[in-house]
């Protein structure tokens, strides 16, 4: 090595080290951090504010949603769960008082961050007034919507509207706030919606950010909930607290219903953008299913959604978990949510009448059908849009180009029904004859065999028809719809009905029903409370409404009364609001093998209570409002207990 070069190098090194050492220590400590963006920097740039807001949008709460997975869609006898780890849902005899609760620490952390967001946005000096106003409105929308979710679960909760900070002086009592009245919670949500609606864009293409219609849809739903709690709460006088944290005086019902109707009508009449019921595809069932999968601008029905994007990391596994077993993209992951016959039979016939699925004739003999889908003919188109019924190649329906293969057994010429505990199994009949028959469909139903249907149905709503959407690696990007016009119409109809205006109610309900294929409109006289309840159940199935609807109408204790649902219970009183539904039934198709005879190759059906169903849903008065944890009440003694717990 050249010595002189080495010396030059050392000299240069010394120089560099001594120069860098010249920097003052205090300067070094004041280097701006490069892993944290300071608040004032964030609130100087709309793009950075939006990224903060994106985080807040991602942390919204919804009862059923894709981030919480398929389990949040299950239960309430609307479906059976074909998953070895989840049979508890149909084996429990009731729900704990804490069911459906949220972690209050997480909840109030989120609320604090929303409050901080609103305060920092208001304090910003570098954002344009228009940006500030819209961000402010979005923060307040998320906060009001979150308080709505809490109120649905708990009734009144502490209403904290400013960020609070502990002073570390050892006495946190000034941070302890009592629960607000339940009516105050709803009043807050309604007034917030009114205050922010004009700061939000009235644009139907703004779906994943809050829009004017989203605020109004929230207002309509909240006011409707408040109105019905006020009205129907009178039927359960025990479900109330003296301080009003739970329960709303019945005198307030009409006022709330009027607010719900006004807010809903603003959306319906185009006051918040152009929203229309989705009527695009010629087949009404396909059309209904597409409401939930079509994200293009053609879909003017969805109002506010949580969006997903395939291959971006923000996807969900709903299609993976619930696709039919024989058509699955992911081996051994399928078929968890199996809609129940309880739900299926509640879809009306097209002549506006209710009837059980016709399995037997007047004499009790099975009715034979040429194709499995025939038994579901002439019913509400939403049935086949919501539920994947058994169908064969004669049906126009396909899922990803294929048909499902749902049948439970083969009836042999001698009347014996052969079946098997394995899907698509070959069974030798008679024994040792050497003749083998396929005895069960590839999709089940077989009791206790997971990921195959056990009720005879798969779910169709939210299933992504895109190729590859059932793979875990790709995931599905079907959006979660928080608010859509179909529900807004039903909210308006219910509010109008409760206000004594069945004509207006009929008008709105008929719009929804025409889209489902009904050609005869309901008359004003046919609009009853039962109709309102029924229409919401079938239109909004699996969209996270049933629990809160049954709670606010105080029907939950009647529908889920803890006694078994017998076959005659199942087949009677269809369409009645308080019809018992404590156990999910199934409808199993069977094939006839009888060559040369008239019934050969035909299908007949049997109602079956899946053998895993041993529990009976029991909703007690203590379930109307979710238990507030002992830890919460110990930390804040001002929180009063829920009634009946």
């Amino acid at each position: 090595m050249n010595v002189s070069k080495k010396h030059i190098f050392l000299a240069a090194l010394t120089l560099v080290v001594s120069l860098s050492g010249c920097k003052k220590d205090s300067d070094f400590l004041e280097n701006p951090p490069n892993s944290i963006v300071p608040t004032e920097t964030v609130f100087s740039d709309p793009a950075l504010v939006l990224s903060v807001l994106g985080n807040l949008y991602n942390r919204q709460l919804a009862f059923s949603n894709f981030d919480q997975g398929w389990g949040s869609f299950a239960d309430f006898s609307e479906s059976f769960i074909s998953d070895d780890g989840a049979y508890g849902i149909v084996q429990n005899t009731g729900w704990g008082y804490g069911s459906w609760g949220v972690n209050w620490k997480d909840a109030y952390t989120y609320i604090r961050e929303l409050n901080l967001f609103i305060e920092r946005d208001s304090a910003s000096t570098k954002l344009t007034a228009a940006d500030k106003a819209r961000f402010n409105a979005e923060g307040r929308f998320l906060r009001a919507n979150y308080y709505f979710e809490l109120t649905k679960r708990y009734g009144g909760v502490p209403l904290i509207l400013h960020s609070e900070t502990y002073d570390y002086k050892g006495d946190p009592t000034y941070l302890q706030h009592p629960r607000a009245k339940e009516s105050d919670m709803y009043d807050f949500i309604i007034s917030e919606a009114e205050a922010i609606k004009d700061q939000l864009p009235a644009d139907q293409n703004d779906k994943s950010r809050a829009s004017k219609a989203a605020a109004l849809a929230m207002e309509a739903r909240a006011a409707l909930y408040a109105g019905s709690i006020a009205k129907y709460g009178a039927s359960t006088p025990g479900v109330a607290l003296p301080g009003g944290e739970v329960g709303i005086p019945s005198s307030k019902a009409n006022d709330y219903y009027q607010k719900a109707l006004t807010a809903a009508q603003t959306i319906i009449n185009g006051g918040a953008g152009v929203y229309k019921l989705y009527k695009v595809l010629p087949d009404l069932s396909d059309n209904f299913a597409a409401i939930f999968t079509d994200k293009s601008s053609v879909n003017q029905e969805s109002i506010f959604i949580t969006d997903y994007k395939a291959l971006s990391g923000k996807t969900h596994g709903f299609t993976t978990n619930n696709q039919p077993f024989s058509i699955t993209d992911e081996p051994d992951d399928a078929g968890r949510i199996d809609p129940s016959l309880n739900l299926v039979e509640s879809f009306e016939k097209l002549d506006n009448t209710f009837a059980p699925i016709p399995t037997v004739d007047g004499g009790g003999n099975p009715i034979y059908y040429t194709h499995p889908q025939d038994i579901f003919d002439n019913r509400d188109a939403r049935l086949k849009g919501t539920v994947m019924i058994p169908f064969d190649t004669a049906s126009p329906y396909r899922f990803k180009g294929a048909v499902v293969d749902i049948w439970a057994g083969l009836k042999m010429p001698d009347g014996v029904v052969i079946t098997s505990g394995n899907a698509a199994d070959q069974v030798e009949y008679p024994a040792n004859s050497g003749k083998k028959y396929t005895a069960v469909g590839k999709d089940g139903p077989i009791n206790g065999v997971r990921y195959h249907t056990q009720t005879g149905f798969y779910i169709r709503k939210f299933l992504d028809p895109t190729i590859g959407s059932g793979r875990r690696g790709r995931g599905s990007d079907v959006p979660w719809i928080h608010y859509r016009l179909g529900e807004v119409l039903l909210n308006a109809a219910e509010a109008a009905f409760e206000l004594g205006d069945p004509g207006t109610a009929a008008g709105y309900i008929n719009l929804v029903r025409q889209r489902a294929g009904f050609t005869t409109d309901l008359t004003d006289a046919q609009i009853t409370f039962d109709r309102i309840v029924h229409e919401r159940r079938v239109e909004l199935a699996f969209e996270g409404h049933i629990l809160y609807d049954m709670r606010r109408w105080r029907l939950a204790t009647k529908v889920w009364d803890g006694t078994e649902t017998t076959l005659s219970d199942l087949k009677s009183n269809i369409g009645k609001a308080d019809k018992r539904s404590t156990q999910p039934w199934g409808l199993w198709p069977y094939k006839v093998y009888n060559p040369g005879q008239a019934n050969d190759g035909k299908w007949y059906f049997q109602e079956v209570l899946p053998s895993k169903v041993t529990g009976k849903n029991r909703f007690t008065l203590g379930n109307y409002y979710t238990f507030i944890g002992d830890d919460v009440r110990a930390a804040n003694p001002k929180i009063v207990k829920q009634p009946n717990q």
Partner: protein, 234 residues
């Protein structure tokens, strides 16, 4: 590698010695038990549906020790000796529990020093008296009288219905039954003579007895009040 057995032995010894120290509490051994009573009669309820709570001051645990009544109205807790407060939460049971001035359940002080029996005196809305339940001819019949206990119009409640339940096992209630007979409260013409009949369905395996009892549902009260379970032979 050569094992040094002395170290292995030593480690066993250390473990054994460490395990000798008394590091656990004894299991709670004092039993607090009792039953729901009204003027010397026991009150039957549905099992695991009516709860009671014990609070103990001075420990880290927040919230109550929860318990449920059995269908005969019995409760029992295994506890450490100490001072407890016992309540029945509002809205629980077919009876009234005393309330304090704020409308909260009034607590009952329990000083536990060894096992204790503590019957809870409550005021039911109704009592079912003189129930006779007999079987024969594939049916079970019950005769009983309904006594309105709480008559103060401010708190009194109507009868919603009365039921006769039968079951194969000794658990008998609205949730656990193989058959039931029902009469609406409005249809009771003479409260001192009410009778209900229920046909016994075929059981598998067949048995020549059933368990039966009568329950009364009070309007706007969740829990029913029951007579004692009777084994009916036929």
């Amino acid at each position: 590698m050569k094992y040094n057995y002395r170290y292995i032995l030593l480690s066993f010894l250390v473990c054994a010695a460490a395990a000798c120290s008394k590091d656990n509490y004894k299991a709670p051994a004092s039993i607090l038990k009792g039953r729901l009573m009204y003027k010397g009669d026991s009150i039957g309820v549905e099992r695991n549906q009516v709860s009671l709570q014990l609070y103990q001051y001075g420990f880290g645990k927040v919230g109550a020790i929860n318990g449920n009544f059995s269908q005969d109205g019995l409760y029992s807790f295994s506890l450490f000796d100490g001072d407890y407060k016992l309540i029945i939460p509002n809205g629980q049971g077919p009876f009234l529990w005393k309330l304090d001035a704020h409308g909260n359940p009034d607590s009952l002080s329990v000083t536990l020093r060894g096992s204790q029996t503590l019957d809870l005196e409550v005021t039911p809305y109704y009592m079912l008296n003189g129930a006779t339940i007999t079987g024969g001819g594939g049916a079970v019949a019950a005769n009983f009288s309904v006594e309105k206990v709480i008559t103060d119009p401010a708190v009194a409640k109507d009868v919603e219905r009365v039921n006769l339940y039968i079951n194969k096992t000794q658990f008998v209630s609205g949730a656990d039954n193989i058959a039931k007979a029902e009469m609406a409260g409005a249809d009771i013409t003479d409260p001192s003579h009410v009778s209900l009949n229920v046909t016994v369905p075929a059981t598998y395996p067949a048995q020549n007895y059933v368990y039966a009892r009568v329950g009364l549902k009070i309007k706007d009260v969740e829990d029913m009040i029951f007579t004692p379970v009777t084994k009916v032979q036929f």
